[in-house]
């Protein structure tokens, strides 16, 4: 029988605890807990819709849209308009209008930089118009051979397909070569108000549903249309996304009511899956596969009008995370410090609500409640902590007791009391911290000016080591005193997205965060870190996940705030305090890897 090394190429690593270097699926031996463990991505078991950014103009988009979930374009709509909007994965931006305002045109294209919009309707009738989008403007180019309303399409600006359409259902199909439309073999079933897998090329796409709430589905192979497996729920005015082997059908009108049904096409059949949150018809949408799509606008009977609601579809097998509300801390504060884990955390120091005063208050979280314990010796705010500290061994250093008392004080927590220990070499506030109570790191901060000093703590003394590269205050830290990150901050105006990594000797600039800010909460370590909320012109709710190389935007906190603290890992974290200042806490269930014990 082959050994693990023969199969995988590496021996089973022996590591005390959870092996941070493990790749997905790699087995290691946890010598502390005497378990064989492996890690795998924490992914969704089923797809789901979540709310996205709202359209600027509520309207019925007529089953049209181009691009992907995170780079989408919609144009026109009812009431007749030329309005065009781009979606960047978060919000819609209004851009230049179609040259001819109309409804029910088809829109195809790979992203927001290049698209076609053809056909449509504006009184007195269906249009053969064809317009090309170059990322900035629409330009009218060669018309369709057959004018049509509510046609569908697929492909790109240089190789597209137009098929079906009204005002009376047609089978007409045309191909576009970048300069002219040519008639090709027709659909088997005449239809309009239908949908398509419009992200596909002009050589492979699906046409499904349509007037009058039919289930019929046809596959185009570049030459002919062939009948294939039907939708489960017949409907018209539905929206489609994806390609011929991986498509999504959602919303529509079943003949008596708007529906929220969503169906997944796997290349051979449709399966009902998680419904839209807002039942509607004549919505717009697009997506590259049945794993990532967007639906927007449409007529929502619950609103009695056209809606601007947008929903983003994420399919199964995708890492997702979310924040949920948690038990509040006892004493409202911001600019305090935290440490520990999701089920065992400690929070200390901070600034109370106006009339503000520094605090030495300490609270411990046991997974269900926060309990007040003994205070620090020196009340202060804008402190830093050894972020990998625990409820029985923590360290607080630096901070401020107004007016402008930039502390060098360091205190150690033994599970019961705080004790003064040797000071930092450079007193400061608004500094970053990382490590444990016996091996910590303090960096940057403010002492009449921004400082870039970095010091390491060996359990007894602080020692000056190499400085950070970009001086700033209110940046945040995570990790250990041999492997840490220094993230974001306030350079003196605005905020920075800078991110530096400490290797035990030097700081090196690594990939920036996506949203520039300061005074965030943190959790995790350098291979897998999390930052959340913070401030840049206003309090933010953004959360970003660090995979060791890059930051990715993940789900926002429910209550954005600055000056909060955090604890835990990218799998399970806590964010608490901050804001006005307040007592709110939230729990993160993460998008990162899950560690499992190998069992019989």
């Amino acid at each position: 029988m082959a050994t693990y090394k023969q199969n995988v190429g590496t021996a089973v690593v022996n590591y005390a605890g959870n092996y941070p270097g493990a790749v997905d699926g790699e087995l290691w031996y946890d010598s502390t807990n005497k378990d064989f463990k492996y890690r795998y991505p924490n992914v969704t078991a089923a797809g789901s819709w979540r709310t996205g950014g709202n359209l600027n103009t509520a309207r019925q988009l007529g089953q049209s849209g181009a691009g992907t979930r995170d780079s989408a374009l919609v144009a026109g709509g009812e009431p007749d308009t030329g309005k065009t909007e781009e979606y960047n994965g978060t919000s819609w931006t209004e851009v230049n209008d179609l040259t001819t305002a109309r409804r029910n045109s088809a829109t195809v294209g790979a992203n927001t930089e290049a698209a076609l919009s053809f056909g449509g309707f504006t009184p007195p009738g269906a249009k053969a118009l064809n317009e090309q989008w170059n990322g900035t403007n629409w330009t009218e180019i060669a018309d369709l051979n057959t004018a049509g309303r509510a046609r569908q399409g697929s492909g790109t600006t240089t190789a597209a397909l137009a098929f079906g359409g009204g005002p009376s259902a047609t089978t007409d199909t045309e191909t576009w070569n970048g300069s002219a439309w040519t008639e090709v073999n027709n659909l088997n079933t005449a239809r309009y108000y239908f949908a398509a897998s419009g992200y596909g090329p002009n050589t492979a796409t699906l046409a499904f549903g349509g007037e009058s709430a039919i289930t019929n589905n046809e596959l185009w192979n570049g030459t002919n249309w062939t009948e294939t497996a039907d939708l489960n729920t017949g409907r018209r005015l539905l929206c489609g996304a994806g390609i011929s082997t991986s498509a999504l059908a959602f919303g529509g009108y079943n003949g008596s009511a708007s529906v929220d049904n969503t169906e997944l096409w796997n290349g051979s059949s449709w399966a009902e899956t998680t419904d839209l949150s807002v039942a509607r018809h004549e919505l717009g949408g697009t997506g590259s596969t049945n794993g990532a799509a967007i639906g927007a606008g449409g007529y929502a009977p619950s609103a009695g009008a056209a809606t601007n609601a947008t929903e983003e579809w994420t399919g199964a097998g995708v890492g997702v995370g979310a924040w949920a509300t948690s038990t509040a801390i006892n004493t409202a504060r911001k600019y305090g410090s935290g440490a520990g884990e999701y089920t065992a955390a400690i929070f200390f120091a901070g600034r109370t609500p106006p009339p503000s005063s520094p605090s030495g208050n300490t609270e411990i979280w046991d997974g269900s409640t926060w309990t007040e314990v003994n205070d620090m010796n020196t009340a202060r705010n804008e402190t830093a902590s050894a972020t990998r500290g625990t409820t029985t061994a923590s360290l607080v250093f630096g901070g401020d007791t107004p007016p402008n008392d930039n502390h060098a004080d360091t205190e150690i927590w033994n599970g019961t009391n705080w004790t003064e220990v040797n000071n930092l070499n450079t007193g400061r506030r608004a500094l970053g911290g990382a490590g444990t109570s016996t091996a910590a790191l303090a960096f940057s901060g403010y002492n009449s000016t921004n400082v870039n000093n970095c010091e390491t703590w060996n359990g007894t003394n602080w020692t000056e080591v190499n400085n950070v590269n970009a001086t700033r205050r209110y940046g945040v830290g995570l990790g250990t005193n041999t492997s840490a990150l220094f993230i974001g901050g306030y350079p003196g105006s605005g905020s920075t997205a800078a991110n530096e990594q400490w290797n035990g000797t030097n700081w090196t600039e690594v990939n920036n965060i996506n949203t520039s800010r300061y005074s965030m909460g943190t959790a995790g370590t350098t291979p897998a870190g999390l930052i959340f909320s913070g401030y840049h012109t206003t309090a933010l709710a953004n959360t970003e996940d660090w995979n060791g190389n890059n930051w990715s935007e993940v789900a926002d906190m429910n209550s954005g705030r600055d000056g909060l603290s955090g604890a835990g890992t990218t799998t399970n974290a806590l964010g608490f305090s901050g804001g006005s200042p307040g007592v709110l806490a939230e729990e993160w269930s993460g998008s990162s890897d899950v560690t499992k014990v190998l069992t019989d």
Binding site: S48, W49, R50, T51, N54, A58, D260, S277, V278, A279, A300, S302, A303, G304, A305, A306, T307, N308, A309, V320, A322, W323, A324, T325, S326, T327, A328, Y335, P353, P354, P355, S356, S368, E382, P402, P403, A430, Y474, Y490, S519, T538, A555, D556, N558, S559, G563, S580, L584, A585, E587, S589
Partner: protein, 100 residues
């Protein structure tokens, strides 16, 4: 035009007030005065409001609650010392305008 958001007043009791599934499905936004904004005409938003026994407010009613809270926070800020007010990380609470 249809509303984009709906508002309710509900006190955040902590764990379970918003769970992870609810947070994945809809976007919540909190405002002073326990005012919560969720998408309008959204079944998951409606279910959450029912779960937390939220008191529905029109946008104008919600705005009035938020305004009162912000004005109280501004008054507290104004009562601080000049030194506290000069702290760059202690800006005066800004007015908040809710969206329809």
């Amino acid at each position: 035009m249809a509303k984009t958001y709906q508002y309710c007043v509900a006190e955040n009791w902590g764990k379970g007030f918003i769970d992870h599934v609810e947070s994945q499905r809809i976007t919540f936004c909190s405002f002073p005065g326990n005012v919560w904004q969720v998408p309008a005409y959204n079944k998951h938003g409606n279910l959450w409001i029912a779960k937390v026994a939220g008191t529905l407010k029109t946008k104008d009613e919600a705005q009035a609650i938020v305004d009162a809270e912000v004005q109280a926070a501004q008054a507290a800020w104004d009562a601080q010392t000049d030194e506290q007010k000069a702290d760059e990380m202690n800006p005066r609470p800004a007015d908040i305008t809710l969206e329809e």
